[in-house]
Amino acid sequence: MTTTLTENSTAPEPAASTTLLEAKGVIMRFGGLTAVRNVDLTVGSGEIVGLIGPNGAGKTTFFNCLTGLYVPTEGQVTYKGTVLPPKPYKVTQAGISRTFQNIRLFSNMTVLENVLVGRHTRTKEGLISALLRGPGYRRAEAEARTRAMEILDFVGLAAKADRLSRNLPYGEQRKLEIARALAGDPGVLLLDEPTAGMNPQETRATQELVFAIRDQGIAVLVIEHDMRFIFSLCDRVACLVQGEKLVEGTPAVVQSDERVISAYLGTPYDGAPGSEEVAEVQAAEAAADGATSEEEDR
C-alpha cells in the first residue's frame, strides 16, 4: 500500500458530509414481481454504507438500477446532483464503479489487462492514435500501465500482473474485481458481496482493503451477508427485505432492530445479549452458504 494512491488520501471525513450518490423512490418491476419497492438511499463522501437483507431481497437488483444495467421502472438516481442516465458506461464515466456478486472478470485477459480495461473511461486514445503510435499515445499507454500497476500493488496483486485472471484463486479474483473497479477512479465504489466464499483471514484482509479505499476518499456502498464484516465496517447500514427498505441507521441501531433479526431468522428476537451475536453469525453463515450455492447454480 504505497505511492500516489495514499497521497491524495485525506483524513476520514465525518459522516455528515456532502451527498454523492442519491437514489430516490427507486422501483424495479419484472413483470408481476416487484424486486425493489420505492427505495431511497444516499451515500455521502467518505462514508461506508452497508446494504443487507436476506436472499432475494433485491439488493443486487438495486445495484443494477444504480449502475444503469437495469432501467428502473420508477425513481431516479443522482450523482453529485446530476441525474444519471440509465446507461452503464455513462454511469461509470460519471464516477461510479462496481464489482459483481458472481465474479465477472475478463477471464482470458491477464490481471494487468483487466485493470487496464477498468481504466477505459479515464483514457481516451482512439483507433487512429493507436494505429499511429505517436509519442502522445505511448505516454498515455505508459501512464495507464503505471497507474494500473499502482492499483494492483494497492490490492496486493502486483506480483501476478501477467497471470491470466481465470487462473487466480477465488479470493484474488474478488480482489482483482475491486482493483478493476478502482481503476476507473470512482467517487463511489459499489461492492456486491466482496467476501462471498472467502475464509475468515481473507475476509479480514478485505475489510482492511475497504477501509484503505475509504481513506483514499472513495465512498463505498457494500452488499454483504457477513454481519460481523458489515457491522464492524460500515458507518451506516440499510436493510432491504422483499424489496423494501426496512430500517436504516448506524450498525448499533440496525443490529438491535427486531424486524431485521426476524427477517433473517424468521423467529422473534429473544434479547439475550450473549446469544445475539451467535445468532447473527449463524444467520450470516447460512445466508453466505446460500449465496455461494446459488452462485454455483449459475
Binding site: 452503464p88 465477472r104 475478463f106 482470458n108 480495461v117 493507436a130 494505429l131 499507454e141 501477467d162 491470466l164
Partner: protein
C-alpha cells in the same frame, strides 16, 4: 542405466513394446537411417507413377519425403541418445517427438507404396526396394514404442489411451537462458527460410500424390517439433524480436515470386494472400470483438465491385478511372460504409441473432448485385455477368499487367499483383497488431469475454462493436481492389456464404477458427492451408467439402484453440513457465515506459 532385466521390467510397465531402452534407441537411429537409405532404391518398375521412382541411387518425387522423415527420425534418435549438441533439438526431452517422426516416415512411405499399388493395379508393381522401404519404415516405429511414456504408472487405463495422452501432452520445457541476440536472429532467419522453402515446395507440387505426402510429412514433422518443445522456444524467441520477425516474414513472403519461374503457381500465391488477408480482417471482428459475422465476404465484394466501377472498364457504369491507391481507398471506404449500414441495426443483437442477420445481409448483397443489371433493377453492377475486362493497374508507373525483369528474375503479372497484395497484407497486419494491443483492442476483447462487465467498465459496447465491424469491413474492401484487378472481372457468384472455392464466408470463418482466433499468424496459416488443399487435391473434387467438414470436426475435437494458440491461450497452459513470459513482458513494459 540399470541392468537389462530391470529395464525390461520397467519398460513393460511404462512402454508399449517390452524392449530394453538401449535397444529401442538403437532401433530408432538405425531404422531412421535405413528408411532414409531406402529412398535411394527404386520402388517401382515403370515410370507410370508420377515422380519417377524407378531410379536406383537417387531419390525422386515422394521418396524425398521418406528420406527427409528418415533423416529427422535418426537425428532425433541421436538427440534422445544424449549426443552432445543435438540435445538442444529436444528441449522437452519427450519421447513422443521420436514416435511422431517415425510414424510420419511410416505414413508417408506406406502412402507412397499404397498409391503405387492402387494406381498401377496391385502390389506386383512394387520392386524389392519398395518392400525394403516399407519394412525399414516400421523399424523406428517399433523402437519408439519401446521408449518409456509418461503418465501415472499402474493406472488402470489401457496402454493405448496412455500412449495417446503421452503424445497429446503439452511439452514442458525449462526456461532457458536467451541466446545472444545475433544467434536468435539467425534462428529466426533460418526458420523463415525453411518456412518459405516449405511453402514453395507445397505450392509447386505438380501432382496430388506428392501434395498429400507433403502434407503428411509436414503435419507429423510440425507435431514432433511441437512435442519436442521447439515451437514454444521459437515463440519465446520471436517474442523477444518482434519487429525482426515481422520484417523477416514479409521479406520471406516477398521472396516467393522470385522462386517461381512461371506464373503457374504465383496465381495461387496471390489468391492465398487475398484469402489470408481477408481472414485476418475477419479476425478483428470474430477473434477480437467476438462478433460472429457469417456474411463477411460481402465486404470483399463491395471493395471489388467499387474498384471495378472506378477502374475505367468499358463495362463499368461509371466511366471514371482512379489511380490504384484511390481505387483501394474508395473500395475500403465503400466497404466501411456498407459495414456501418449493416452493423448499426444488427449490432444491438447478441450471439446467434447477429450470426443469422449477418448471414442474411451477406446473401442480400450477392442477390442485389445480380439484379442491378438494367432489367430487374438499375444498371449498376452488370447483373450475373458482373463487370468483365477490368484493365490492369499501374503502380508508380509500373504496369502490373506486364512482365518485368528485376535482377535477373522475371516477374509475371501474378507476381506483380502478389507483391502489391503483400503491401496490403502488411497494412492489415499492422492495423491488427496495433489495434489489438491498445485501449481499443482491450475494449474489444473485454466485450468478447463478458459484455455486461465490459459495459460496467465504461465501455460503450455498441460503439466499439460498430468500430470493429466497420474496420474489419474496410480492410476486406482493400483486398477487394486487388482481387478485382487481378481476376480481370468481378461476378456476384463467389461472394456467397459457402462454396467450394475460398474465399467465401464459411471458409473465411474456418480459416480464422482453424488457424487460431485472435492471432495474426493463425488466420494466415489457416487460409494458406484451406486454399492450397482444395487447389492441389483436384482429385477429391466432389468430396472436397466432405473432407473439409471432417477435418474441421477433428480439429475442434483435438485442438479447439486452433493451430496457433494465442499468447493468452499459451499463458493458460504455461503457468509453470511464468518467469520467461514475465521477463519478456517486463521488457515490453520498460520499453513502453521509456
Amino acid at each position: 542405466m540399470t541392468t537389462t532385466t530391470e529395464t525390461t521390467r520397467s519398460a513393460v510397465h511404462r512402454a508399449i513394446l517390452p524392449i530394453p531402452i538401449t535397444t529401442a534407441r538403437a532401433l530408432i537411429i538405425i531404422g531412421g537411417a535405413l528408411t532414409a537409405a531406402s529412398a535411394f532404391l527404386s520402388w517401382t518398375w515403370t515410370s507410370a507413377f508420377p515422380g519417377d521412382l524407378t531410379v536406383d541411387g537417387y531419390p525422386g518425387g515422394l521418396q524425398w519425403l521418406t528420406f527427409a522423415a528418415g533423416v529427422l527420425t535418426a537425428v532425433f534418435g541421436l538427440a534422445g541418445h544424449g549426443i552432445r549438441g543435438l540435445r538442444r533439438l529436444n528441449p522437452a526431452g519427450s519421447s513422443s517427438a521420436e514416435l511422431l517422426l517415425a510414424v510420419g516416415g511410416l505414413a508417408v512411405t506406406w502412402f507412397t507404396l499404397g498409391a503405387i499399388s492402387v494406381e498401377l493395379g496391385g502390389l506386383v508393381n512394387l520392386t524389392v526396394g519398395g518392400w525394403i522401404a516399407g519394412i525399414a519404415a516400421l523399424v523406428p516405429v517399433a523402437g519408439a514404442l519401446g521408449l518409456p511414456i509418461e503418465g501415472e504408472p499402474g493406472s488402470a487405463t489401457s496402454r493405448g489411451s496412455a500412449l495417446w495422452r503421452h503424445i497429446k501432452n503439452h511439452p514442458s520445457i525449462k526456461p532457458t537462458r536467451p541466446l545472444p541476440a545475433y544467434a536468435e536472429i539467425l534462428i529466426i532467419a533460418a526458420v523463415l527460410a525453411v518456412g518459405l522453402g516449405l511453402f514453395t515446395y507445397g505450392i509447386d507440387t505438380g501432382y496430388g500424390e506428392l501434395f498429400v505426402g507433403f502434407l503428411i510429412t509436414v503435419v507429423f514433422g510440425a507435431w514432433a517439433l511441437y512435442s519436442a518443445g521447439l515451437t514454444d522456444q521459437l515463440s519465446a524467441i520471436t517474442a523477444r524480436h518482434r519487429s525482426v520477425t515481422a520484417i523477416g516474414a514479409f521479406a520471406a513472403a516477398a521472396a516467393f515470386p522470385f522462386t517461381q519461374s512461371s506464373d503457374q503457381y504465383t496465381s495461387i500465391g496471390v489468391n492465398v494472400l487475398i484469402f489470408a488477408t481477408v481472414a485476418l480482417g475477419l479476425n478483428i471482428v470474430v477473434g477480437l470483438a467476438g462478433l460472429l459475422d457469417l456474411g463477411y465476404v460481402a465486404f470483399l465484394g463491395v471493395g471489388a465491385y467499387t474498384a471495378a466501377l472506378v477502374s475505367g472498364a468499358a463495362t463499368s457504369s461509371l466511366h471514371i478511372v482512379f489511380p490504384w491507391w484511390a481505387a483501394a481507398l474508395t473500395g475500403a471506404v465503400a466497404s466501411m460504409v456498407f459495414g456501418l449500414l449493416i452493423g448499426a441495426p444488427t449490432l444491438r443483437l447478441r450471439g446467434d441473432y447477429l450470426a443469422i442477420v449477418t448471414l442474411g445481409f451477406g446473401e442480400i448483397f450477392r442477390i442485389a448485385v445480380s439484379n442491378f443489371d438494367g432489367v430487374t433493377g438499375p444498371n449498376v453492377t452488370g447483373g450475373p455477368n458482373g463487370i468483365p475486362n477490368i484493365p490492369d493497374i499501374s503502380v508508380f508507373g509500373i504496369d502490373l499487367g506486364k512482365s518485368h525483369s528485376l535482377g535477373g528474375f522475371t516477374l509475371g503479372r501474378f507476381s506483380n499483383y502478389f507483391l502489391l497484395m503483400l503491401l496490403f497484407t502488411a497494412i492489415v497486419v499492422l492495423v491488427f497488431t496495433r489495434a489489438s494491443d491498445s485501449r481499443i483492442g482491450r475494449a474489444w476483447i473485454a466485450i468478447r469475454e463478458d459484455e455486461t462487465a465490459a459495459l460496467a467498465m465504461g465501455i460503450n459496447g455498441f460503439r466499439f462493436k460498430l468500430l470493429a465491424f466497420a474496420l474489419g469491413a474496410g480492410l476486406a474492401g482493400l483486398a477487394g481492389m486487388v482481387q478485382a484487378h487481378m481476376a480481370f472481372s468481378v461476378v456476384p457468384d463467389p461472394y456467397q456464404f459457402a462454396g467450394s472455392v475460398p474465399p467465401n464466408s464459411a471458409f473465411l470463418l474456418a480459416a480464422v477458427v482453424l488457424g487460431g482466433m485472435g492471432t495474426v499468424s493463425g488466420p494466415l496459416v489457416g487460409a494458406a492451408l484451406l486454399y492450397l488443399i482444395p487447389a492441389k487435391l483436384q482429385f477429391l473434387n466432389d468430396y472436397q467439402l466432405l473432407a473439409f467438414g471432417v477435418a474441421l470436426i477433428l480439429l475442434m475435437r483435438f485442438r479447439p484453440e486452433g493451430l496457433i494458440a494465442s499468447r493468452r491461450r499459451q499463458l493458460e497452459f504455461h503457468e509453470a513457465e511464468q518467469p520467461i513470459l514475465q521477463t519478456t513482458e517486463e521488457a515490453g513494459l520498460t520499453k513502453a515506459k521509456a
